[in-house]
């Protein structure tokens, strides 16, 4: 590609700097000893230390993990069964359901948040951990179903037919053929659902009541009040943890192939 212009390369380099610059700045400044100033006053770990002593923060982390865990298990079970059921339906019905499942993924999150809040208020359900989990399962089901369906469609139907021909009943075909073949997709769906739930701000924002503060809600209120540099440390920590998590899961997936 001798004719590739230097301009293209320059824009690409600039774009990568644009993507990673802010992340680097944030991580760097989380070690800054200065209190709320961009002037560098030497490196310190004290803001990280302060995080560990912030009990409200630890409670929010615990809430987030609990919500993510329960909603991931729920969404994986319901979404997985939905994917299996859809696969055996007539083609036309599958298409309609698939279109319906895309809807929750494209409508603005604000809208899903207010809609769920309205439902819970009308049902006179007190907002709290339960309502958050109900909502998280709802936005995770489509993700799980779509991911598992993608894998189901790639499976060779001959494998299942062979098992049936050799005398396996429907349950045995599922348990010893389909399920093992689906395992990578299921774990992939679990990871995605867990991450999405852990990161969710808007649906949680509208459906969480007092006492159900999650990590993103806590981050939001810390950013809004903006008085301690602890938020820099927390942000840097969250960035690095999720980057390592994603890189790790991609590495595992590649090894499995």
């Amino acid at each position: 590609m001798k004719r590739r212009s230097a301009g293209l390369n320059a824009v690409s380099v600039a774009a990568m700097l644009f993507l990673y610059g802010p992340i680097l700045v944030l991580v760097l400044y989380s070690f800054n000893a200065a209190h709320l100033s961009m002037t560098w006053r030497g490196a310190t770990l004290k803001w990280y230390g302060a995080l560990l002593q912030d009990e409200a923060l630890l409670a929010a982390t615990w809430n987030s993990l609990l919500i993510a865990l329960v909603s991931t298990v729920g969404a994986t079970a319901l979404g997985g069964l939905l994917a299996l059921g859809m696969e055996q339906m007539p083609h036309r019905r599958q298409q309609i359901l698939e279109g319906g499942l895309v809807l929750p993924l494209v409508i603005p999150e604000v809208m899903m948040g207010v809609a769920l809040m309205l439902l819970f208020v009308m049902l006179r359900m007190p907002l709290g951990l339960t309502t958050v989990i109900l909502g998280h399962i709802a936005f995770n089901i489509p993700l799980v179903t779509i991911m598992i369906r993608t894998r189901l469609r790639k499976l060779d139907p001959m494998l299942r037919e062979a098992a049936a021909d050799l005398g396996a009943d429907a349950w045995q075909v599922f348990r010893y053929v389909t399920l093992p073949l689906l395992r990578p997709a299921i774990w992939g769906a679990v990871l995605v659902a867990f991450t999405v739930s852990l990161d969710d701000f808007l649906v949680t924002f509208f459906t969480a009541g007092p006492g159900a503060t999650t990590l993103p809600l806590k981050v939001y209120s810390m950013i809004k009040s903006g008085v301690t540099p602890e938020i820099n440390a927390l942000s840097a920590l969250l960035l690095v943890v999720s980057m390592i998590g994603v890189a790790g899961s991609l590495y595992l997936q590649r090894r499995e192939v």
Binding site: M1, R3, R4, S5, G7, L8, N9, V11, S12, A14, A15, F18, L19, Y20, P22, I23, V25, L26, Y29, S37, M38, L78, L81, L82, L84, G85, M89, L97, G100, L101, V102, P104, V106, I107, P108, V110, M111, V114, A115, L116, L118, L119, I137, A138, I141, T145, A170, D199, F201, L202, V219, Y220, I223, I231, S235, L238, L239, M243, G245, A247
Partner: protein, 296 residues
């Protein structure tokens, strides 16, 4: 063998009702916690507000007519403008990046794509907060500009429309790069070479060969950036000021601050209509591309 025959028939009957029972719990959940709430919002958007903040169930178009008020019109208009500008900037930045990645050695491509996607998998609030550190009054950008002598006193960068658009571009650039990468990857380099060999100018190579042949990716990428941009809440909430509100902020404001649920619901449905129009465009374009390749 009648016994085997009948057991097959019952197995078939079982198989035909099984998909329904497997799908039922998930479908019920989505109906109860997605479809019903949406319909509730739709219903309330045609109701009116009671004196004590409750809802009066009398059919009215008033909430939609209220949206014609210049104040709401302005928020609607600037949301469309920010989202469009974001899409355009993402295209200008994303296309060269996608092109360079697609034409780099094959073994490096997955790594480059991973690097483009990686920030997307981190928390959106945190990524937006990074820009607050950079753009605020005593932030990095002002420090740099002052040090370089380009400005004599700090600029007002945060809480401006520009900050909102920067934040949106930052958040959604990966959505532009991925479909463009796929499109450029499929583009036969020989066609570009042929254009050069026939003495096309650089401009002509781009506008008459590269862009038309990668059009499905361009349209796809633009719609994938536009949809989350128009519906964004966090970015304008954190980076924008009171004057750079977007539709998402208006919805939150009407619901949680003013507590005018019927009006908030009407705004929600206008937003949903815009998003659905973009989605329909996306599928029509994707369907059209399939049709043309089948025709060949």
């Amino acid at each position: 063998m009648p016994s085997e025959e009948s057991s097959r028939a019952s197995a078939a009957a079982q198989a035909s009702c099984r998909p329904f029972w497997l799908a039922l719990p998930g479908l019920l959940w989505m109906t109860l916690f997605f479809l019903v709430p949406l319909l509730l919002v739709l219903a309330i958007s045609f109701a009116s507000r009671g004196t004590y903040g409750g809802i009066l169930w009398e059919f009215t178009w008033a909430n939609y007519l209220d949206l014609l008020h210049p104040l709401y019109g302005k928020i609607l208009g600037q949301s469309l403008w920010y989202a469009t500008l974001t899409t355009a900037i993402c295209f200008v930045v994303g296309f060269p990046l996608a092109y360079v990645i697609a034409r780099s050695p094959a073994r490096w491509q997955p790594l480059w794509l991973l690097l483009v996607m990686l920030p997307f998998w981190t928390n959106f609030l945190v990524r937006t907060y990074a820009w607050m550190i950079i753009l605020r009054q005593d932030g990095l950008a002002n420090h740099l500009l002052l040090a370089l002598g380009l400005i004599s006193e700090p600029l007002e960068l945060l809480y401006t429309p520009a900050a909102v658009v920067i934040g949106l571009v930052y958040g959604y650039l990966p959505f532009m790069v991925l479909p463009l990468y796929v499109a450029v990857e499929r583009l036969d380099p020989a066609l570009v070479e042929a254009a050069w060999d026939l003495y096309a100018s650089r401009w002509a190579v781009w506008t008459r060969v590269v862009v038309p042949l990668t059009m499905p990716g361009i349209v796809g990428g633009c719609i994938l950036v536009f949809i989350p941009s128009i519906g964004s809440f966090i970015t304008p909430d954190l980076l924008g000021g009171a004057r750079s509100m977007m539709i998402g902020n208006l919805i939150q404001h009407e619901y949680l601050v003013v507590r005018d649920w019927p009006l908030g619901s009407a705004v929600s449905f206008v937003l949903m209509a815009i998003v659905m129009a973009a989605v329909v465009l996306y599928y029509r374009q994707a369907g059209g591309a399939d049709g043309s390749s089948e025709g060949r």
